[in-house]
Symmetry: C2
Subunit: 525 residues, 2 copies
């Protein structure tokens, strides 16, 4: 499949009129063809009109038809074959095996949402039958289901060119909910975006759905993104990226005449609490495993462990020493884009220049463009609490160890943290009471709490929460990974005394979809 360098608006391919975007191979700094010219406000408006026109028909598809559409997208992505892998590798600088794994994850995610759509629990059907004889007043027949919010804008992330991008979690969950999707492609991987976009476009055609169910728009500045979020046809948006970028678009969403839900997944430093007994028993192996997690994907994960909190003493020294050795042995890794590499360098430089942080180790020298050297720094609890800059996310493989005087101070550091995607406890049997006392704090701070694991690696499943209090996300009530993500794009509607012939299938008296409905306060089936 030859890349055309064009936008996909409904079933059309459209040539952009704004500045050209070229992907950069970060391993060589070479600009890749073709050029992707950015879209205009008019392109955005046209995609939004098509999405709006498609909305009522798409949200009214049967559960089977919608599930089958998601599966067809997965098939079409698989059918792209090696062309997709090759393009994603040169656009992202990520290893081939990683991209292959990510393609599997992306397709599994679409298939899992297909299963969720078919099961229909997300409809949350509740029926309170009429009670015509009730005194003093009769009760009407009341039936609730969930319906799709409307067309959704999705902003692809740089760090998962497949799983958090054009056909990623936000797109899959919005389509599963019955919402048409317009993706603003991330400028770091436009070719990958075009390929996946054409897979979705083809699935729309094969499934005989209205063309406005999916569009893909490019744009290098703010014009496209802001126009998209501001368009009255758009009823929700999903974003994964930086805190500043997320907040800027969030403000657009909140300043509309009709504000809309804006799900931004932004910044998290993912504290790891190394508790005393665990540190004593296995400080050295823990230090090594920690650097393994820190280096994964060149540290470019939302759940990268950017902070270790522990009580100072010989056991922590052992941990730090093992980590130091691992860091020093860490080869430099190519980062996703020159911009991300530059931001990483400047973040690390901030630690180097800070009189509050002490450098423990740096990884091996870089041997090519855009390579990051792993970094490990140490600070005291008092300095950490006193200096906000030490709590800012450095996107990449650098982490900070916070040394506390005692458990009380460790609690104080925990309470001082901003909202996080994850919080991890490294603990042994003897740490149980310390862990129990910390748990309520961590529950308030994070969306996912781990014991004796590392936060990198986010399972796509029913129980996952990839979310958390601000600024980890803009809306802690939801998750952006896992089947519960479908709830972000739904709202409840109640039907009072509708004749059976007018009711949506999910609510009909004879339960044609065989759902486990809440019937008069009791579960059916």
């Amino acid at each position: 499949m030859t890349l055309e360098g064009k936008m996909l608006i409904g079933q059309e391919t459209v040539q952009g009129q704004r500045d050209a975007i070229h992907a950069i191979n970060p391993a060589t700094n070479e600009a890749l063809e073709p050029a992707y010219h950015g879209g205009t406000r008019e392109n955005v408006a046209h995609a939004c009109e098509l999405a709006w026109a498609a909305f009522d028909r798409y949200r009214d598809t049967t559960l089977e038809a919608r599930a089958s559409f998601l599966e067809t997208i997965a098939d079409e992505i698989e059918a792209l074959g090696d062309a997709l892998i090759e393009r994603a590798v040169i656009e992202s600088g990520l290893p081939q095996a990683r991209i292959q794994g990510e393609r599997g994850r992306t397709c599994n995610q679409l298939q899992l949402f297909a299963k969720t759509v078919r099961a229909g629990e997300w409809l949350d059907v509740r029926i309170d039958p009429a009670m015509p004889e009730r005194q003093p007043l009769p009760r009407a027949d009341l039936r609730q289901r969930h319906v799709a919010l409307g067309p959704v804008a999705v902003f692809g992330a740089s760090n998962f060119p497949l799983a958090f991008s054009v056909a990623g979690g936000d797109t899959a969950s919005a389509l599963a909910a019955g919402c048409p999707v317009i993706v603003k492609a991330h400028s770091a991987h436009p070719g990958t975006s075009e390929l996946v976009g054409r897979a979705i476009q083809s699935a729309v055609r094969r499934c005989d759905l209205p063309e406005g169910v999916f569009s893909l728009i490019f744009g290098s500045g703010r014009e496209v993104g802001q126009a998209l979020v501001a368009n009255p046809c758009i009823k929700a948006a999903g974003f994964t990226g930086s805190r500043s970028g997320g907040l800027a678009l969030w403000h657009v969403a909140q300043s509309r005449p009709e504000p809309i839900p804006f799900y931004a997944e932004m910044s998290s430093i993912n504290p790891v609490f190394a508790l005393p007994a665990a540190l004593e028993a296995r400080g050295a192996t823990m230090g090594e495993a920690f650097v393994g997690s820190l280096n994964m994907g060149a540290g470019q994960f939302c759940t990268n462990p950017g902070l270790v909190i522990a009580i100072k003493g010989p056991a922590l020294d052992q941990f730090i020493d093992a980590a130091r050795q691992s860091v020093e042995a860490s080869p430099a890794q190519t980062m996703l884009t020159p911009g991300i590499h530059e931001a990483y360098e400047s973040g690390v430089q901030g630690f180097i220049n800070s009189d509050k942080a002490r450098e423990v180790a740096r990884g091996q020298q870089d041997r090519g463009p855009n390579q990051c050297r792993t970094g490990l720094f140490v600070t005291s609890a008092a300095d950490f609490i006193g200096d906000e800059a030490l709590q800012a996310e450095i996107f990449g493989s650098t982490s900070l160890v916070v040394e506390c005087n005692d458990v009380t101070e460790l609690h104080r550091v925990a309470e001082h943290l901003e909202g996080q995607l994850t919080a991890t406890l490294q603990m042994d049997e003897a740490d149980l009471e310390t862990a129990r006392a910390l748990l309520p704090v961590l529950e308030r701070k994070a969306g996912r709490i781990l014991v004796n694991g590392w936060p990198t690696g986010v399972e796509v499943c029913e129980a996952m929460v990839h979310g958390g209090p601000f600024p980890a996300t803009s809306d802690a009530r939801t998750t952006s990974v896992g089947t519960a993500a479908i709830k972000r794009f739904l709202r409840p509607v109640c039907y009072q005394d509708l004749p059976d012939a007018l009711l949506p299938e999910a609510l009909r008296e004879n339960n044609p979809l065989t759902l486990r409905r809440l019937m008069d306060g009791q579960r059916e089936l």
Copy 2:
């Protein structure tokens, strides 16, 4: 019980330092004793600190203890006896029978949430057990439950001094979710608020809960409300009132360093579509029933039918004529406050002055202060679509009939509507296809759709949705009435590989709470 005129902060009674608030008996314009002096920022801060201090302990109460607390509040409200009824009647101008009914509804609501808490479905427990042998990567043990957001600010509404006020739906659902509550009392019924507040305060004591679980603060200006929403200890807020008041506080919530969910239920004109066959068959009885709904509670319901949309012709004329007669026979009714009465008069005057609306009928002359005369006006579809002012809510018993030329124009009016709490279809068998074609539009516009009923009267049950797209509410993803309201104050947390001893009860291996958990994608039990 003698009214003290003081705020309730935790278990203390606190004298306010700001301007005095006196309730006004709207039937006489007489100021009622005692004076309620408003709180300061310091009072708000103190209540917030207590709420924060209570939060971890309160949210960790057992389902049984929390349910029992809600039931104790209901008992304590019942125990206030006639003193509560008498005070609410003179503060609101509402008839005694209505206030008695509302007390029943308020207590039933607390008891229903107690049942919901015990059932535990709101925990939405999902468990994906570990798969240590999985290739290429093992799966960790992942368990999700929902936890309380944090202390909640509640703004009492004027029009339901019991059911949407101090111990109303917002308070009941927030307490059910495990959130401490701070209520800003509505200045129209401070005595009623004090009585109910003392009932809750006493229930906190009887149930041996931390005192910060509940506080009640008075304030006449913006100081208290804004300080409350801006306080970092507050993690969500519920509001029922005007569009301008709701939006002002919503902006405070969104401008915080950490924005929070702000659930404002604001404005709705609740369109009624009188379809041709129904109008033909029973236009006259429909006109009469419509005015019955319009006059309920002097029209001071969020779901008051402020708009009738129909195709013009003899059948609609019959409807209008019957409605005219009913309106002309309608006695004037005392409104809740002088301010609400004034706003009503000014809204009606806007219709009278408009060259787009024609007056059909007014109710009987008022015979006392603050009485509203029912009003009925007619406009054309073209004028309605062209003039935003005709779509603004007039809080009170005035409604507007929109005459359409044909079904196409009726659709156009439907599409032109803002978000609504309700939309009603008056229809007969022969209207089925017209109704079917309208339904998708109504689903996009409203939280509840009724057939052949009237929107006033909101059942507190599992299936109710009292919510809807902006500006009906600030967040269409939720309801403020019914058991699903508990979801507003929750967020998911995922626990990865926690030892059973550290897991919350709901997630433990042996399922001690006997919940229907989603276990590896299948429902338990």
